[in-house]
Symmetry: C2
Subunit: 380 residues, 2 copies
């Protein structure tokens, strides 16, 4: 089988969230029209691999010259080619774009073999406990604008079946943010609202210094929180090693620091975090995410998966040690997460009454596109 | 798909090698009748996974109760179950038996999806440079009984196309073995016979002390050898850390030390070897071998694969960094390696004129059994 073409279809769709000046998502006042895209890897045997995303110009200039004519089952070779090519295309050939290519190749492998990807990887389970992962704090009354509102939302999530809840608290451009005391107040209000049994985690502002991060961590220990995530700039591994030494609560990371599985290996050797972390988008696809997971297993270190979506869910269903939760969201009291956007027939991560997400048993990664809708709403 | 049964067929076949009192293979005076077995994992959909080996009593008592009724694509789950069950069955439920189960499950996955296993893993290549790996030294005139005979055999391998050659030298029960000076004399004779360009490696007696191992290593440096392998008891990781500090020539290991990918992680963290090492039989299958490879890649450490056969070849064709050679053998001047035993239609590792082994593109792991022959030569 040979790759014959890679195409990107841009189309109109509807969104319920808007990004603030720092790039964090919040509820939109009304659903509004936006654009999205799907990338398709075509083969001479008619099998296609599909994923969301992809940049048409970069696919044309960098990806296609490397991939056309290759066997799409040579994922490992292709991933290394892209990884090496990245050196001279820093900031252009992003880990996210490599991720899109890798996910499309995995989708293709699943479709060619009539298997869901998690079974190709070697499955461990078909459902995973999820935590409700909030959007960042805001100034929308009734939303996530006060500690009490976080508490009320956590209780609503608990009532829906979730066994775990993670706060993203207030960040710039909110004028008074960040504020360690407000972070801890929100965490306390959540613990107060849900009682002692729900697993709780915090992912606060990412540029606190060591002292603020440590103070927050110690307060979370008193509140019986399950982990603390990225409270400092991950470019300083030394800061994380210091923080991990100071705290009893598990420190989770790295998440956004570049360097893929190689960076995770360094953090493990240095004991810079208690629990490792990666998602398909952070490390350049499902191929390096599985390597990260295998690295972590070899060292007896948990790896909590960053973000949701079909690629991360496939990884979670093919790992036993050390991944625990699916990150579901980001969620907000004002945003309907359960109804798919118009270009999808269904969401990839349906929740059951016990707070678990079940993976699709359809061939490939499990995207459930509405191709008619996409065809009817083209851009260009 | 569900696993419905696991069966072992024992049958008569022919062998050209005999084991000495220490378990090392040597040429048999004549081909002679021996026994072998194939393990088959059966499913409710008629697809079977097959591999060589398997112990009928242990499969019945330990493996079947764990596997019957499970989806054979749940390899990761099954591997962890067997790994945990091993704790109370030390020495009974061996890594080799877990390996056989895992290889049969991979073979099954390949057959169910009509893909060779190296493509399911994500391929990098379809052929791999091989090194000629000798049997241990002997006292058979014209065989491997003198340094000069090693030299002549290396030259014959070079003429056949091999670009690399590894000596296994003299060990007990040979009366005068081990002898560091004889090891080095054989290595010198080989270098002399093949000239400067062939890659040469040594895998000597495995229980030298630090001083002997270091002396041999320094002599190999003068002879421009490519690596030294397992010259000391691997139960002492400290000895390997010491040796690796002393030598410029890369030290390769661990190979036989138990603990699977977990042990490889410890050796990497401690810099106990320059190059890691594992084969499917050492770590309990292809599943943990790929984890070892991913671990090594994450740390920028090469991993040379121990032993041949379809499982190891599949791994080598799905890794780019850091695996270099296929270990072909064990070879001896008196033994015809190229002609398959009567229960196989063809060998799994055919050599081309340039010293490469090419992997089969048939579904599964690529065993090419002669089922008629096996059926016609049953034992019980």
């Amino acid at each position: 089988m040979k790759i014959t073409d890679i195409t990107i279809d841009r189309f109109k769709t509807t969104s319920r969230t808007v990004a603030d000046a720092d790039g964090h998502g919040h509820p939109a006042p009304e659903p509004y029209e936006t654009t999205s895209s799907v990338m398709r890897i075509h083969t001479d045997e008619g099998v296609e691999g599909v994923t969301v995303g992809g940049n048409a110009a970069l696919v044309e200039s960098i990806v296609k010259p490397l991939l056309i004519g290759r066997d799409p089952f040579y994922r490992e070779q292709i991933w290394h080619l892209l990884n090496e090519r990245q050196r001279l295309h820093k900031g252009t050939l992003s880990d996210k774009l490599i991720c899109a290519v890798d996910l499309a190749l995995w989708d293709l492998a699943g479709k060619a073999t009539h298997q869901p990807v998690y079974k190709l990887l070697g499955a461990t389970r078909s459902k995973v406990p999820a935590y409700a992962s909030t959007m960042c704090g805001d100034e929308l009354p009734g939303g996530l604008s006060t500690p009490e509102e976080y508490g009320a939302f956590a209780k609503a999530c608990q009532d829906k079946g979730y066994s775990a809840f993670k706060l993203h608290t207030w960040q710039p451009p909110i004028e008074w943010a960040p504020d360690p005391k407000m972070d801890v107040a929100a965490c306390a209000a959540v613990r107060d609202a849900v009682g002692p049994d729900m697993r709780l985690m915090l992912d606060p502002f990412h540029f606190y210094d060591r002292q603020d991060a440590c103070w927050i961590g110690r307060e979370l220990e008193k509140l019986d929180y399950y982990w603390i995530e990225e409270p400092m700039d991950e470019q300083s591994m030394s800061s994380y090693k210091w923080l991990t030494d100071q705290l009893l609560i598990p420190v989770v990371g790295p998440e956004t620091m570049e360097g893929k599985h190689f960076t995770r290996a360094e953090w493990i050797v240095q004991n810079a975090a208690d629990i490792s972390r990666a998602g398909v988008g952070d490390v350049g696809g499902l191929t390096p995410l599985m390597k990260t997971i295998h690295l972590c297993e070899s060292h007896g270190v948990r790896c909590e998966i960053h973000g949701g979506g079909p690629g991360n869910l496939a990884a979670l269903c093919a790992m036993q040690i050390p991944g625990e939760y699916y990150e579901r969201g980001l969620l907000h009291p004002f945003v309907d997460y359960e109804t798919p956007p118009p270009h999808l027939h269904s969401i990839a991560d349906p929740l059951d009454d016990e707070g678990n997400v079940t993976i699709a048993d359809t061939p490939g990664l499990g995207w459930d596109f509405d191709w008619e809708w996409i065809a009817a709403h083209p851009i260009d």
